[in-house]
């Protein structure tokens, strides 16, 4: 039952992909230009204080962003789902073990 629910959830991650399809293909042009995010880190330049976000002038609205959202959600839920499955399997093997032990009369 639990597994079924989680399966459903995993499938429901799909909207990210379907939404991505709505986007005009023209948006699929260039990826974000690398920002100067590294910030100068040479030590003798004294404390580096780059506070706040680097200000991206225009947010990149490309297909790539949709892909990243999709992958992020898929990976996150796959990890949780996989964890639940692993728990279930361990429960199963423990129950077998218990039955075996009961056979020996402990």
């Amino acid at each position: 039952m639990r597994l079924l629910l989680l399966c459903l959830l995993l499938v429901s991650a799909a909207p990210a992909a379907t939404r991505a399809q709505d986007l005009p293909a023209a948006a699929e042009t260039e990826v974000a230009t690398p920002l100067d995010a590294g910030a100068p880190t040479s030590v003798n330049a004294a404390p580096v204080q780059s506070n706040g976000l680097p200000t991206a002038p225009t947010p990149p609205r490309t297909m790539r962003a949709y892909w990243h959202v999709f992958v992020a959600f898929a990976v996150a839920w796959a990890l949780l789902f996989g964890y639940v499955v692993a728990l279930g399997r361990r429960f199963g093997s423990l129950e077998r073990e218990i039955r075996r032990l009961e056979g020996t009369g402990v």
Binding site: S42, V43, N44, A46
Partner: protein
């Protein structure tokens, strides 16, 4: 209190006397440190001015040399099961920890002297102008390093993996020490005033005090049984 100090000195003295006789840890730490300096001088691009990255190089060397020494810190106790003997002695657990800490610290400081001299020779560094501040920073950072190092080497010695486990356990925990020690050492080497690293020194003091208390309290749980 008197008894506590005497116990502590006994343990530290025992370790240092053993070390003076065999010199195995000190020799391996120093040789390793010098070799790391050699490796750095060969792997550093000639275009890079060593002075600008000296803090990082020094602390990488010190960390790994120190880790090498820590790996053997409880080795004798483990191999001969001498730990049982020490634990059977009427000895405060805190004193045991502090004694071990002092012995480890002495070894590390001796190695650090060699490290700083060798780096000065190899990379044309000079510490004279800010010698006092450099010593202060290095000692404080080494104390922090060895507090966690002693606690965790006692634990690592009780596992199957032994000293292999040690770096994995303590490197993440030592990040504050690394950050403050490397950056302030770097600044002092390039001749910045002490005022600029005073904040780092304060954090290092806080780190040392917190973990000194925590470790003394927890050490009993490491060695019980």
């Amino acid at each position: 209190m008197r008894g506590f100090v005497r116990q502590l000195l006994t343990i530290a003295g025992k370790d240092l006397r053993l070390e003076l006789r065999s010199r195995e840890r000190l020799v391996s730490m120093m040789t390793f440190a010098v070799l790391v300096a050699v490796v750095f001088s060969f792997s550093l691009d000639p275009g890079v001015e060593a002075r600008t990255v000296a803090g990082a190089m020094l602390w990488v060397t010190i960390l790994f040399a120190g880790m090498l020494g820590l790996g053997r810190s409880f080795a004798l106790e483990r191999e001969q099961d001498a730990m049982m003997g020490i634990l059977l002695a009427p000895l405060d657990r805190g004193a045991l920890f502090l004694g071990k800490l002092i012995a480890n610290l002495a070894l590390l400081l001796a190695t650090e002297v060699a490290v700083f001299v060798v780096f000065a020779l190899f990379f044309q560094l000079s510490y004279w102008k800010t010698l006092g501040s450099v010593i202060l920073v290095v000692v404080l950072a080494s104390v922090g390093f060895m507090i966690l190092g002693t606690l965790f080497s006692a634990m690592a010695a009780g596992t199957r993996l032994g000293e292999t486990l040690l770096p994995v356990l303590i490197l993440p925990l030592l990040m504050p020490v690394v950050i403050y020690a490397a950056s302030s050492t770097q600044r002092l080497i390039v001749g910045r005033p002490f005022a600029e690293v005073a904040g780092s020194v304060r954090v290092l003091v806080v780190f040392d005090l917190i973990f000194l208390i925590v470790s003394i309290l927890l050490f009993g749980a490491v060695v019980e049984e």
